[in-house]
Amino acid sequence: MSQFLVKDGVKNQIRKGEKLVTTHCCYCGMQCGMHIRVNEKTNKVVGVEPRYDWVLTRGKMCPKGVTAYQTIDHPDRIKRPLIKKNGKFIESSWEEALDLIQSKFLGLQNQYGKDSIGVYGGVSMTNEKCYLVGKYARVGLGTRYIDYNGRYCMSSAAGGFNKTLGMDRGSTLPWTELEHTDCFFMAGSNTAECHPTSIQWFWKAKDKGAKLIVADPRETATARVADVHLDLLPGTDSALANGIMHLLIEHDYVDHGYIASRCNNYAELKEMTAKFTPAYTSEITGVSEEKLIKAAHIFGQSPRSVVMFARGAEQQTKGVDNVSLYTSMALLRGQIGKFASGVATFTGQGNGQGGREHGQKADALPGYRKIANPKDREYIAKVWGIEEKEMPQEGVSAYEMFHLMEAKKIRALHVICSNPVVSSPNINYVQKALESLDFLVVNDFFLSETAELADVVLPAVTWAEDEGTTTNIEGRVIRIRKVVEPLGESKPDWEIMQLIAERMGKGEFFPYKEPREIFDELRIASKGGKADYYGITYEKIDDQEGVFWPVPEENHLGTPYVFTERFATEDGKANLAVCDWKEPGEVTNSNYPLWLTTGRVVFHYLSGNQTRRVGFLMEKCPEPFVEIHPELAGEYGIADGERVKLSTPRGVMELPAKITKAIRKDTLFVPYHWGKEMSANQLTSPALDPFSRMPEFKVCAVKLEKLSNRR
């Protein structure tokens, strides 16, 4: 198979002595297509070339994508295993590191039981690896305690979709169709900064006259050009959605035929939304009635509309409610399962979609199966070649694992592809919990803040040094190619898990020589599940420009639209959400009078472990800042660029102020990509959604202070 895929008539620049390898970006869920330039003589990565013919992104890239290749051959890369001796990391051999892990893991398990080891996964890696993390935890280590950083990212969307539609595929339609949409309703998504390459589709639609409604406490780049900007108070999405639905019903924009044949709970929904009059909604959300009405009319009259939401709506204690309510808005209009219309969430992490389908979650098994379901347990046990009773039970969610560490129930942890001391809420507590562990192993290719706490750091490879598949924002399974050989002694995560499993005496269950074999096992494991990958092969992905799951048969071409005929619920009908508005987990009071919300900037990705090491990105955005409305800044006497102090009951931080009218007067915004004293997550609230166990990163109460007599 050729390493460089390009359609006829597409011209790319190929410099003499270089070759191009076709792959996708390592960062967000857009998984933008790109070619990586490799010097043929030295076999080193030298740059990037746009992939003009990739169907979703057309060669477009954000600054992170353009510079992504710089992390491959980066001087900070860990090239050999590191073992901490007397508080210092010493380079060692794989043999030595594995010996240590074996003795510690086996020792702890003998003494405290199998569940004394936890596994903390991540979804910025391929499906193969994500799948194997689940198997590694349950078969290799035999522990029930496994969860992953997607708990901070996608679990509310997953919960909401499962509740209303019965299946969680991030987007019900292929995004290449978005340009034909008439109206976008975007909630809690700073699309322009978090998924920049998706903007081309929204702008194309706008070129054709589409309307844009954006709900966000900040006037983001998308809100700036929106027809209606619903500048809601953080944490009031459920009231907003109920309010809009109230208006939809009042003005009879409801698709009654669709509701009658395909949805449950309409009467209950009508009853619930009755009290959300514009006046009442406006009182809760802080959005003027006029705007609500205008938004409802635009949304209600648009023949084709897409409701989209992201972490702003999901990272709340009522994230699942918000998702189900927004989804219900689309259902009321009868939009799901049709051309250029539907509902979609913006997947944050590279493989946030695929990673949550294949058993990295505490309660899930491959193919979106449930670990609590005896049938599912039996099937997967058979695929894995173990007894059903050997399969551990359901564990706990990511943040709750830290409670168990503090309580000494989890005594050792293996972190794979994640940096929880930056990305978790209330990180001061998380750091303490990790420090209380007896033994911490971290796989990473840079020494992240979490790796710094580890006893053993195992050198993993970057995305370009291993092959595999990921599932992008649309639910399209795509292929990541190996560009260069691993640097130094680093190994791909699947190989590391395999080596440890061997040491744990479970080598027979991990006989893989290459990722393709893992994928073949994943295909069988997911067969018959909701996320059915059975019919996907690497070759099919290349031929068809990615394959949309579910693909139940070998000769099946994939499913770009889902829910065209029926929903994936038991009765085939969608469940409209009936949820009242609830207050956020933490509300403002006289001590903490302002709202704090966190988010991303375009230059950094998640915990910043990769992007904080790239020159261009650090030049453009070296440190966190707090966005303050000039009126609020005036009250506190704060000048632009002045350092201020933010505090919540959980932590304190100092950072420079950026004054802008493009934010609500009662809300502060801080990006979260930094660690330690620069981390916004010292402040954030760990209140969890009762259903998805997602922490409430997006809403907490905060105190703002001017640092007097200091510059």
Partner: protein, 181 residues
């Protein structure tokens, strides 16, 4: 076939991918030559990209005492020739659009050259290739004329008829006539 760079400022989302991409071009020495600025961050998040217009009669070349700024046969205004440039920076002050940059260490001026190594081959320059919002585009001259025409018509619909004298102020500028015959 004429290809030109076309900018639409209000599409810009301020991601600066164009700047990161500019560093990737041949002979750009890992330094960006284009700009993305805020109009006024205190007021709004509106940003705008700016690249060289590749003037037909460039002021920068006219104010250069060393005659160091050359124009290629395709019409691309190149950076000052390194051997001629005496480092006076007249070009940065002469340019009506504030484009040329100056490297004090290496004593040389550098400016947008439309990724000469790419456009010479008919391949879109890096900034236009990666721009996620299509604020920077590399399109046919005819397509640009079509876009401009549409903008003028739109203004007529809006009832804000431009006068003959200021008609072109109402449509986005096009940058850098380029032919690769």
């Amino acid at each position: 076939m004429n290809k030109i760079m076309y900018l639409e400022f209000e599409r810009c989302i301020g991601c600066r991918a164009c700047q990161a991409a500019c560093r990737e071009c041949g002979d750009h020495d890992a330094k960006e030559r284009n700009y993305v600025d805020y109009i006024d961050f205190t007021e709004s998040r509106q940003t705008f990209p700016m690249i060289c217009m590749q003037c037909k009669d460039p002021a920068c070349a006219r104010v250069c005492p060393a005659n160091a700024i050359q124009i290629t046969e395709e019409g691309v205004v190149l950076s000052a020739m390194e051997e001629k440039c005496i480092g006076c920076r007249n070009c940065t002050f002469g340019c009506p659009f504030g484009i040329p940059k100056f490297d004090f260490e290496k004593n040389k001026m550098y400016k947008c050259d439309m990724c000469y190594d790419r456009t010479r081959e008919g391949i879109s320059p890096m900034c236009a290739s990666v721009c996620p919002s299509d604020a920077i585009r590399f399109i046919d001259f005819d397509e640009m004329q079509e876009l401009r025409r549409r903008r003028v018509q739109m203004n007529l619909i809006e009832g804000k008829k431009p006068m003959e004298g200021n008609k072109w102020e109402y449509v986005p500028e096009f940058f850098g006539v380029y032919s690769d015959s």
